[in-house]
C-alpha cells in the first residue's frame, strides 16, 4: 500500500489515544506505532488518556476537530470506548481499536490479543511449572481496570482445571513494582508455603521477585503478563519463570497499518489477532531481540 500513493500519505494525520503510558507495555505499543508511522511517512499524534475513560472521549473528540484521517484507540475500557468511537463516527473518521475491543459501537478494525486467553495460558504455564500442585498467590492490578479484570478472570478459569493447585490469596498491588514488592513481602508472612505466584503484569512480578529473593524462579515459580524488556531479562536470569507476552510493539505496528489503509478508503479486515505467546527461558531469545 505504500510506494505509489506516497504524496497523499505524507499528508495523512492519524491520532492515537493510548490508555496509559504509565506502564512500559503501552510505551512499547506506542513505540511500535510510532516506528511504523515513520516508516510509512504518516503523521501520528499520540495522547495519553491516563487510564481515564472520559479523558479518552475528550481526546477522540479533539482528534475529530483536528480533522484526523483515522483514529487509533487503545481503550481504557471497552464499554466506555463506545462513546468515544461514536464521536469519531459522527465525523466519519475510521477508528481502529488496538489491544482491547470496543463494545457498543463499530470500529473499522480491532487489533488485539486476548487478555482472557492470556490469563488462561498463564494458569496453564504456572500449573505446568508447579507440577500441577501447590499454593498460589495472585497479585492483582488496579481494581476495576479491564486489564486486571480480564487477566484475573482468565487465570481463575484456567487454574480451575488443576484441583491440586490452591489460590491462597489474591491481593491488589496496582500494577506497581513497589507495591508488588510490599504486598508479596506481606503475603509471604501469612503464606510462607506459597510455591507459585501469578502477577497480572510484569511490573508487579518484578517487585515480587525482589520479595522472594533467592527463592524466585526456583522454590517459588512466578508467571506474569506483558513480556516487557525488564520482564524478559528476568526470564533470562531465571528468576521469572514465564510471562505471557503480547508483543505490544507488533500491536502498535499493525494498528498503524490498518489506520493508513482505512484512511485511504481501502477495505480492512475486521479483526487482526496478534497472538499472545508464553515466553519462558526456552524461547526468550526470540523475544529479547525483537
Amino acid at each position: 500500500s505504500s510506494g505509489g500513493s506516497g504524496a497523499s500519505e505524507g499528508s495523512i494525520k492519524i491520532g492515537m489515544s493510548v490508555s496509559t503510558l504509565n506502564n512500559p507495555y503501552f510505551v512499547q505499543l506506542r513505540k511500535g506505532a510510532e516506528d511504523e508511522a515513520k516508516k510509512q511517512g504518516v503523521t501520528l499524534t499520540v495522547t495519553d488518556a491516563q487510564n481515564d475513560a472520559s479523558q479518552q472521549v475528550n481526546q477522540i473528540q479533539n482528534f475529530a476537530s483536528q480533522s484526523m484521517k483515522a483514529v487509533i484507540i487503545n481503550p481504557v475500557d471497552s464499554d466506555a470506548a463506545g462513546a468515544a468511537v461514536t464521536a469519531a463516527e459522527r465525523s466519519k473518521i475510521p477508528v481502529i481499536a488496538v489491544d482491547r475491543a470496543v463494545n457498543g459501537a463499530t470500529v473499522a478494525q480491532t487489533v488485539a490479543s486476548d487478555n482472557v486467553e492470556g490469563g488462561k495460558l498463564a494458569a496453564q504455564e504456572l500449573a505446568k511449572q508447579l507440577g500441577e500442585k501447590g499454593q498460589v498467590v495472585v497479585l492483582q492490578g488496579v481494581a476495576g481496570t479491564s486489564a486486571s479484570r480480564d487477566r484475573g478472570q482468565g487465570f481463575t478459569e484456567g487454574i480451575k482445571a488443576y484441583p491440586n493447585i490452591k489460590v491462597v490469596a489474591q491481593q491488589p498491588a496496582d500494577f506497581d513494582r513497589t507495591k508488588g514488592l510490599d504486598v508479596m513481602t506481606n503475603l509471604l508472612q501469612s503464606n510462607p508455603d506459597v510455591s507459585g505466584v501469578f502477577a497480572e503484569n510484569d511490573e508487579m512480578a518484578l517487585g515480587a521477585l525482589k520479595a522472594l529473593g533467592a527463592k524466585a524462579g526456583k522454590d517459588v515459580k512466578v508467571v506474569s503478563f506483558d513480556g516487557t524488556p525488564d520482564g524478559l531479562k528476568a526470564i533470562q536470569d531465571g528468576t521469572l519463570n514465564a510471562s505471557v507476552a503480547q508483543q505490544p510493539a507488533l500491536l502498535g505496528q499493525q494498528a498503524v497499518q490498518g489506520a493508513i489503509k482505512a484512511a485511504n478508503g481501502e477495505k480492512v479486515e475486521a479483526t487482526v489477532a496478534v497472538p499472545v505467546k508464553v515466553v519462558t527461558k526456552d524461547n526468550v531469545a526470540e523475544f529479547a531481540t525483537s
Binding site: 495519553d48 480533522s67 462513546a83
Partner: protein, 320 residues
C-alpha cells in the same frame, strides 16, 4: 468625602481585579487560537465546554467546602459511586431511571453528610474525613459493580448527548449548576453563613450561626454536586465505571483555587471556579490539538497552571 480616600477603582477595574482568572483564560485562549487553527471552531469550543463539564460541576460543589475553609478530597470517588449506583439500580434492580437518578443523588448527598458529621461532630480534620471517604466510596463502587463497568440504559445516556447541533446537555448541566452555586453563595442565608464560617468561624458561632448545621449543608451540597457530575460522566460514556473520575478531586480543587478561592477559607466565587475549570479544559484540549508529546504534556500543563495563576497575582500586585 475625606481626603484620605484617594484611590477609588472604576467598576470595570474592580470587576477585573475580582476575576483575575478570566484574564488568564483569555490569554490562554488567544494563545491557543494562534498556535492551532483547529482551536477556534464552534465544534471545538463546544468540545471544550463538554470536557469542562464534569470538572466544573465537581468544582462548584467543592467551592462551598473551600469557602468554609475545608477541603473535599472525596468528590471524584463519590461521583463514581453515584454513577455506579445509578447504573446498578436501573439495570440489576430494574428501577425506572428517574427514580434511579434520585437515588444516585441521594447517595452523593449521604456521602457528603457522612463527611460533614465526621468533621462537624467528630472534629476530624476535613482532609482526613474526606480522604477516608475517597477510599470508602471508591471501594463501595468496586464492590457494587464487582469491578466491572455497568452499561447504562439508553434513556439516561441522553444526558450526555447534544440537543440539535449546538446544545450539549453536559454544558447545560454545567451552566445550571453554576447558576445554582452563584445564587446559593450570594443570595441565600447558607451562602452568606459559609463565607462567615470560612472567614472567622468563632465570630460566626458567636453571631448565632449554627456552624455545625451549615457545615452539614456545605458537605451535603458538595456530595450532591459530585453525584450530578457522576451522572453526567456516566451518561457521556453510556456506562458507569468503578474507576471513573479517579484523581478528579485535585482538578476540582485546582479549578476552585485558580478561580481565586483561598484554601484558608472565606473567599471563592462560582464564576471564578467556572473560569478555573475552563482553563484546565482549554489547556488539555489545546495540548491535544497541538500534538504535544504525552510526556511533555504533564510538564506543559504544570507550567501553564503556574503561569495562569502567576499572571493573576502579578496583576493584582501591580494594580494595588
Amino acid at each position: 468625602m475625606s481626603t484620605n480616600v484617594l484611590k477609588r477603582q472604576s467598576p470595570a477595574t474592580a470587576w477585573l481585579a475580582g476575576n483575575g482568572a478570566l484574564v488568564a483564560l483569555v490569554v490562554l485562549a488567544v494563545a491557543m487560537s494562534l498556535l492551532s487553527g483547529d482551536f477556534l471552531t464552534v465544534t471545538n469550543l463546544l468540545n471544550v465546554g463538554v470536557q469542562a463539564a464534569v470538572t466544573a460541576v465537581l468544582a462548584f460543589g467543592v467551592t462551598f467546602v473551600i469557602i468554609t475553609g475545608g477541603i473535599d478530597l472525596s468528590v471524584g470517588s463519590v461521583a463514581a459511586l453515584s454513577a455506579i449506583v445509578l447504573a446498578w439500580t436501573t439495570t440489576s434492580a430494574g428501577l425506572p431511571w428517574p427514580l434511579a437518578i434520585l437515588i444516585a443523588l441521594a447517595v452523593g448527598l449521604a456521602c457528603g453528610l457522612v463527611n460533614a458529621s465526621l468533621i462537624a461532630y467528630g472534629k476530624l480534620p476535613p482532609f482526613i474525613a474526606t480522604l477516608a471517604m475517597l477510599g470508602i466510596a471508591r471501594g463501595l463502587a468496586l464492590v457494587i459493580s464487582q469491578g466491572s463497568p455497568i452499561q447504562l440504559p439508553d434513556a439516561v445516556t441522553h444526558l450526555g448527548d447534544t440537543i440539535g447541533d449546538y446544545l450539549p446537555v453536559p454544558v447545560i448541566v454545567m451552566v445550571v449548576m453554576g447558576v445554582i452555586t452563584a445564587v446559593i453563595l450570594n443570595r441565600t442565608y447558607t451562602g452568606r453563613a459559609i463565607y462567615a464560617i470560612g472567614g472567622n468561624e468563632e465570630a460566626a458561632r458567636l453571631s448565632g450561626i449554627k456552624v455545625n448545621r451549615q457545615k452539614l449543608i456545605t458537605y451535603a451540597l458538595s456530595g450532591a454536586f459530585a453525584a450530578v457530575a457522576g451522572v453526567v460522566l456516566a451518561s457521556r460514556l453510556a456506562s458507569a465505571q468503578p474507576q471513573a473520575a479517579t484523581g478528579y478531586e485535585l482538578d476540582a480543587i485546582a479549578a476552585v483555587v485558580i478561580g481565586g478561592a483561598s484554601l484558608s477559607g472565606g473567599k471563592g466565587r462560582a464564576f471564578g471556579t467556572f473560569v478555573g475549570a475552563l482553563i484546565l479544559a482549554v489547556l488539555r484540549n489545546g495540548l491535544n490539538l497541538l500534538s504535544v508529546s504525552a510526556f511533555w504534556q504533564q510538564v506543559v500543563i504544570g507550567v501553564v497552571i503556574a503561569l495562569a495563576v502567576l499572571l493573576d497575582t502579578l496583576r493584582r500586585r501591580t494594580t494595588n
